[in-house]
Structures are given as C-alpha cells and as structure tokens.
C-alpha cells in the first residue's frame, strides 16, 4: 500500500470514530476515555505518515466516491504532506485535551460532539489532499459545516447562535469566491481537476482575477481584513478545543489553499500580487494586535491575536510571491520557509493558549480577564505551560515564535535587491511595521499571562479553582513540547520544510542551512546572520544560575517584614490590582483614532462608581452595517411588489403571460 492509502485509512478511522459516537450519545465515559484518545492516536499516525510522505514522490489516487462520472481525485505532494503534518501534530494534542474536557450538559451531547469533531478533522485532512475542485469544495464545505455545529455546541445561548450564523455567512461568501476561482482556473475546458488547471496557461488578466478571487475566498476563512469579523465572535462562543482546532489548524487550510492556487495552479505570479498580500497582511496584523491589546475577554483576545498571526503569514506569502515574480528563487524560498515555520509554530502555541483558556474556564467559570488572577498557585501546570505558549507567541528566544519572526525579518533584509525602486522604498516601512507588531504582540501576551495567572485572585471563588485533569495536562504538555522543540531545533525543522519549497518554488534554503551545521541556523551565510538556539539557551541558563549563585552568596540573610505604604488609603483589596482595562489603557490612548470607543465615566461624588468602556469594531459600522442596510432597502423595494391583494398578484401573472405570448409571437 502507498502512503496515501494509509492516510486514507486514518481518515476513514476518524470517520468511524465519529460514527461510533452516535450509539454512545450521552455516554461521556466511552466518548472521553475511548473515542477521543483513539482519535489522538490516529492523529499521531497521520502526522508520522505525513512526515514520511514529505520525502517521497507525489502520489495520486482516484476515489470512486461522489457523483457517477465525477470521482474524487486525491494527490499527496510536499505541500499537502506538510499541512497534514501540522493537522496531525496539533490534532493529537487537542484531541488528548478534548478527552479530558468535553463533559455532559453543554448543549450538544458528547456523542454528537465526537461525530462533529472527527468529521471536522477528517474534512480538513481531505481539503489538503484534494486534487480536483469538486473534492476540494465538498471537503471545504464539510469543514465549514462541521465547525459551525461545533461552534454552536452550546446552542441554547442566543449570542452563540448569532456568532455561529455570522461564521456560516462569511464562510459561504468565501466558499463562493473559491468556487469562482476554480471556475476561472479551468479556463473554459470544463475539466475541474487540478492537473488540468496546472496545464492551462492563463493570460495575466485572468490569472489576476483568479488570484483576487482566491484572496477573498481564502481570506474569508483565514480572517483577513475586512472579513475577520467572525473570528472574535466565533472563538469565544466555541468550546475551547474547538477554538484551538479552528485557530491552529482550520485557519491554516486557508493558507494552504492560497499557496496551492498562487504557486501551483495559477501558473504565473505577478509582482503586484505580492504587494496586495503584503498590504493586506500588514493591515491585518496591525489591526489584530492593536485590538487584541484592548480586549478583556481572554478568548476574544486570543482570537484577535490569531488575526494578527494570519496577517504575518500573509506578509510572508507576499514576500515569497514578490521574490518569485522577480525570479529570485532562493529568497522566495527563504520567505516561504519563514511562512511555513510560522504555520507550524502558530499551530502549536495558539492551540496551547486556547486550551489553557479552556482549563481556566472550566476551573473558574470565568472568561472575563477582570475576574481572574493569581491562578498560578491553583493551576501550576496550566500556568507553566501557558508561559511557554505566551513566550512563543511573543516571539522570544529560544521558543518557536522567535525563529519564524527572525526568518521573516531576515527575508525582509534582502528586499533591497529587488529591481523595483518603488518596492525598495515601500518594503522597509512594512518591515518596521512588522517589528512594531511583534513588540505589541509581546505586550498583549504580558497582559494575557499577567492578568490571568499572576497577582492576587480578583474574586473570592477563584480560591476553589481546581487544577486541570491529567488528560488535559497531557495535551498541553504535547503542544508545549512542540513550541520548545520547534524553537530549539530549527535546522531540523527547516529540513522538513525544504521539500515543500522545492515543490512550489524549485528552490530551498535547506542546502545552505545544512551546510552551516546543525547548531547554528543560518539561512544565507554564517557571516551574514546566524542564530544558535541551544547556545542561547545554555547562555541564558548559565547567566541565571550565575546570578542565583551570586545573590545567594552576597545575600546578607537579615529579613525584615513591614507593611508597605498604602497611599493613605487603609483598605486594600485584590480588585485594586492593575486590571486588563488598565493595562490596555496606553494602547487605547495611542491608537485612539483606530477604535470606535464609548466610555462611561463616573462622577467623583458617585458612591458606587462604575466605569465602562466598550470598544467596537469599526468595520461593523463602516462596512457591514451599511451593506446590511442596503440589502434591507432593496428587500423593501421588492416588498413593494407584494401588496397582499390577490387581484394584484393575478395581474402580475396575467401581464407576464401576455408579455411572454408577445415574445413568442414576435
């Protein structure tokens, strides 16, 4: 059997597990102890097979599913193998966590959750394996629908239902654009296999149309400005493992789709495509990070942070397109390597953080940052692993986030070689803005971690918070290990990414990186730039140990405890700590024009003062509500036709009849 066959067996296994959830509809024991761990095991197998597939030749298969003359074409090449690897590796950790997480009483029964969840996993795997538009769209829509039902798991809450509807709406708008993309790519031949699309050579105009449609379609799924609005609504509504799966893996299928269309199916790349992606990505990243800095709901904060990371991925893709269009393949490979590295890294740390919020939510019942705090004492495992995720997310060495951002900035440094003076002026600005995004992301993560885990508990009931269950911990450890290992062994990871860039661009940085040894990561030459994470780790560890030793030696041992100065205010409570709103205040002030803010300030004489600030998305008021109003007005115009009088309706059909008869006559 070929690797592809084995992969299909794993996918079928997932589907079987999902169906097995139906008889055990309300039997949480079977679902949690048997089906989800089995799903995690299958995910591991999938990851292993995908890893092996990276280093083999592309394989194809034709499944006799679907319509009689329209079978499913599947193809396993480097790009799909890499994304399968991400799906498998992240899916394993999330399934393990979900085994300890899902329980009775949250709207949808556990057995049904199990079906939707495994259907979701299987459809994502099929999306990256599909080799014709029909199979792709079927898998894509299955993915959208199963995730819709997962998001609305707690469907008795009206807010969750409306969040789900928004998600479904944006997903369908995107799916339509993707369908049109394929329609353009098949160039009127009527053959919708990807092989045929590759063979077509489109004119620059039509290729650009396909590119723009694909950007809209996949951008809607990824959450690119201005189609991002569903993310901050859907993520808080969904159960945490679902949020993790959507953010870590599903958003990446959109990246996969765009890479597939731009580098594989479109045939040509124009330089301005890169500028479009760069601009969109930059706007998305800035918007995401600024908005995540002012959120006070922890999952909403992470949702905006996902938007930011998607922006970074788009920037990386934009650079790759730019370099590739000017035939600078090695640099395009560098930018694409940075992008794919970030895909893997984001899959690890964002799912880790979403799962951690799930543990916190179960332990405390709170999602609002203003009511959390001091959980590091109650939930030490979750706190320690969240710290790993937070550090990776802020792009600090020696974790995975740093390598991705470092590679991205490295590829920015080479843009001076582009033979286009306009770009030479523009791109350094983008690079500076990316540095700003990275810094603000660090700020956001300090807020996230500090407010939830550090300080004193802000509410009395937090004292009863229970630590995460062993299965939840196991899932978190798996993903945390991913963050650390990706960061510590970037050279090996790039060795895995290398086949992908070879497939798409015909070039890779793997050769140079390998030539420079396994200890130091150096994408171009050792003299230019290099990064040795293990060395860095050793130096940091040594410095910490040395400091500890010195403090210990020099410490005089005389301890004096006294009350600190209380500013003349005698009563001090935990609520007086710096809050999430307070921490975000400088950002609110600096970027004031970007926000749509309403504030209620208390008067100084108010006995029970209340302070309220609401920050709304300007895109709602600037784009979505006008569109909604326009639709409603058009609907009203159509409604004028409907007078409610039978005579009028009869007159309509009468006139239509006369006109049609007249048409036939002349």
């Amino acid at each position: 059997m070929m690797l592809l066959d084995w992969l299909l067996v794993v996918i079928a296994g997932w589907l079987a597990l999902g169906v097995a959830g139906i008889p055990a509809l309300r039997n949480t024991g079977v679902v949690a102890r048997l089906l989800f761990p089995a799903g995690a095991f299958l995910a591991l197998v999938l990851a292993g097979l995908a890893l092996a597939a990276l280093f083999t030749e592309p394989q194809t298969a034709v499944l006799a599913l679907g319509l009689p003359t329209l079978p499913f074409h599947l193809r396993l090449d480097g790009l799909s193998a890499f994304f399968l690897l991400v799906i498998g590796a992240a899916g394993a950790g999330i399934s393990l966590f979900a085994a300890g997480y899902f329980r009775q009483g949250e709207g949808t029964p556990p057995g049904l959750m199990c079906l939707e969840y495994h259907l979701f996993l299987a459809s994502m795997a099929l999306v990256v394996l599909a080799d014709d538009a029909y199979a792709f769209m079927v898998a894509w829509e299955t993915m959208a629908l199963s995730s819709f039902f997962l998001v609305t798991a707690n469907h008795r809450v009206p807010a969750i239902r409306s969040a789900g509807f928004l998600y479904l709406l944006v997903a369908h708008v995107g799916a339509l654009a993707i369908l049109l993309t394929f329609g353009v790519l098949q160039a009127g031949t009527g053959d919708y296999t990807f092989a045929n699309m590759r063979a077509q050579s489109l004119s620059p105009l039509w290729a650009s149309v396909a590119f723009l449609l694909a950007t809209v379609g996949f951008g809607a799924k990824a959450g690119v400005l201005p189609l991002h609005v569903w993310l901050p609504e859907a993520h808080p509504a969904a159960p945490s493992p679902v949020s993790a799966l959507m953010s870590a893996v599903m958003l990446k299928t959109a990246i996969y789709g765009l890479l597939r269309v731009v580098f594989d199916l479109a045939g040509t790349q124009l330089w301005w495509w890169g500028v479009v992606l760069l601009g969109l990505g930059l706007a998305t990243a800035l918007f995401g990070v600024i908005y995540s800095a002012v959120q006070s709901d922890m999952k909403r904060l992470l949702a905006y942070s996902s938007i930011e990371n998607i922006g970074l991925l788009f920037v990386g893709m934009g650079l790759a397109v730019l370099f590739h269009a000017y035939a600078m393949s090695a640099l395009a490979a560098l930018a694409l390597t940075a992008t794919l590295f970030h895909v893997a890294s984001h899959a690890c740390f964002k799912s880790l953080l979403f799962l951690a919020t799930g543990s916190v939510l179960h332990a405390t019942g709170e999602r609002s940052l203003g009511k959390l705090g001091g959980l590091i004492r109650r939930m030490p495992w979750v706190a320690a692993l969240s710290l790993v995720g937070v550090l990776a997310s802020s792009g600090l060495p020696p974790f995975s986030g740093f390598v991705a951002e470092w590679l991205l900035l490295q590829s920015f440094l080479f843009t001076t070689g582009l033979p286009n003076s306009f770009l030479n002026m523009l791109v350094p600005v983008v690079a500076a803005a990316i540095a700003l995004v990275a810094a603000l992301a660090g700020y956001v993560m300090v807020k996230f971690y500090g407010v939830i885990f550090l300080g004193q508990p802000r509410e009395p009931h937090l004292a009863h918070a229970h630590p995460a269950s062993p299965l939840e911990r196991a899932g978190l450890v798996w993903l945390g290990a991913g963050c650390v290992l990706l960061g510590l062994f970037p050279v090996q990871v790039i060795g895995v990414i290398d086949p992908v860039t070879q497939v798409l661009l015909g070039a890779g940085v793997g050769e140079t990186v390998r030539a420079n040894g396994w200890l130091f990561l150096s994408p171009t030459s050792l003299g230019r730039a290099s990064y040795g994470p293990l060395v860095f780790l050793l130096v940091v560890a040594f410095a910490v140990a040395l400091t500890a030793w010195l403090v210990h030696r020099l410490y005089h041992g005389r301890l004096r405890r006294s009350a600190p100065w209380d500013c003349g205010f005698p009563a001090q409570t935990a609520r007086m700590q710096d809050s999430a709103e307070g921490f975000g205040q400088p950002i609110r002030e600096i970027f004031n024009p970007v926000f749509r803010m309403t504030r209620e300030l208390p008067t100084p004489f108010d006995a029970a003062p209340k302070y309220r600030v609401t920050i709304e998305d300007p895109f709602w008021h600037g784009l979505y509500l006008p569109v909604a109003r326009l639709t409603e007005r058009l609907a009203r115009l159509v409604g004028r036709l409907q007078q409610g009088r039978i005579a009028i309706y009869l007159l309509y059909s009468f006139l239509t009849l006369i006109v049609l008869l007249g048409v036939v006559r002349w």
Binding site: Q642, Q643, G644, R645, I646, A647, L650, L651, F654, L657, I658, L661, G662, V664, R665
Partner: protein, 219 residues
C-alpha cells in the same frame, strides 16, 4: 357535410366566447354557475364534433369525462357551496362592468393576433378556433382579477381551464388521455381545496371578500 360540421365547431367556439363575455358581465353568482355549466356543455358538444370529424375515439372519452366533471359534478358542488355560504350576489367589482368589457374586447384582439401564426402552422380542421380559445382563457383570467369575492374567482379559474381544454382540442387533436385525466383530477382537487378555503375565509373574516386577505401581509 364536412364543412358543415367544421362550421359547427366554429359555432360552439363562438358560443364559448360569448359565454365568457357573459360571465364577465354577470354579477349574480347563481347565474354565473349556470353560465359555467352552459360553457361546459358547449365544450362537450365541440369535442364530440371534433371526435366525429377526425375519427379519434379517445376524444369521446374525454368528452364524457368533461361532461361528468364540468356539467354535472362541479356545478352541483358549486351550488352546494353557495347554499351553505349563503352568497347569491357579487355586488362589488374592482372596475365597473362596461370598462371590463372594453378591456375584454382588447384582449380578444390581442389573442387573435397572438394565435394567428400558430394557427397557420396547425393542420387541424378547427385551427381557426385557437384564437377564440386563447381569448376565452384571457377573459377568464381577467374575471379572476376584477372580482372581489372568492366564489366568482373560483368560477373564473374553472372557466380558464375550459379555455385551455378547448385550445388543446382545437389546435391539436386533443391532449394525450393521461394528461387529460391528470388535469381533470387537478381541477377536481382544486375545487375541493378552494371550497375548504372559502369556508375558512368566511370563518376568519365573516365575509368572503378577498380584500380581507390583505391584512395577512406583514409590514
């Protein structure tokens, strides 16, 4: 003899058209039902003549079906309905009757114009009557539009079906038997449903005036 019989078809066709005009002009519901019955009878006679002329025996069958349905069954049902609902008069129309008649004349001219090229293609003996059949349909449709009460509308609907049937018999040699049976059955079921509706409308609004239905529309 042949041409005489062909002329007879034309005679019955004219009778249909005149009856359609009479229905537009008539305000009394009871008379409307009588007119409808007469129309059905004219249709049966026309079908019999066509059957005899062309020697197509299945047309006898459809003539019998038409007789049972349109001359006996439906008029009886309509009588029972108006007895139960106790409606004899349809006082209001949306336009006054002379205006409606004038519109009707315009419709007849339009129908003849429309039918002319189709009739010239047809090889049937009664091809000249296609315009009349079309005019009957349009006139019945007009009646449905201008009447404000439910029962005359139903009669308009049924009379439209008469026009359709006549068109089928005249232009071609009748529809296939299975289609004819289907349509007959549809008409029967239609009148049953409409009867139920009429009772429901009266129960809801204490009147059969369909203008009350406007209240059902959302704003």
């Amino acid at each position: 003899m042949e041409s005489l019989l062909a002329q007879t078809i034309n005679l019955f066709a004219v009778a249909l058209l005149v009856l359609a005009f009479a229905m537009i002009a008539q305000r009394r519901i009871l008379t409307l039902i009588h007119l409808y019955t007469l129309q059905g009878a004219a249709l049966v006679a026309a079908t019999l003549v066509v059957a005899h002329l062309t020697g197509q025996h299945h047309l006898y069958g459809s003539a019998i079906l038409t007789f049972v349905l349109k001359v006996v069954l439906i008029p009886v049902m309509l009588h029972r309905v108006i007895d139960r609902l106790n409606v004899r008069w349809d006082v209001e129309t949306l336009f006054n009757i002379p205006t409606t008649m004038l519109i009707g004349i315009v419709l007849v001219i339009v129908a003849f114009n429309l039918a002319a090229p189709i009739a010239s293609l047809s090889a049937s003996i009664a091809r000249g009557t296609l315009g009349i059949a079309l005019a009957c349909m349009l006139l019945s449709f007009l009646m449905m539009i201008v009447r404000a009460k439910a029962v005359p509308q139903v009669i308009g609907f049924l009379s439209m079906e008469n026009g359709l049937f006549f068109a089928a018999t005249a232009a071609t040699a009748g529809m296939p038997m299975i289609v004819e049976l289907g349509i007959a059955f549809d008409v029967l079921v239609g009148i049953l449903i409409l009867g139920v509706f009429m009772f429901q409308i009266r129960e809801q609004f204490d009147s059969l005036d369909i203008r009350h239905l406007e209240r059902l529309k959302e704003d």
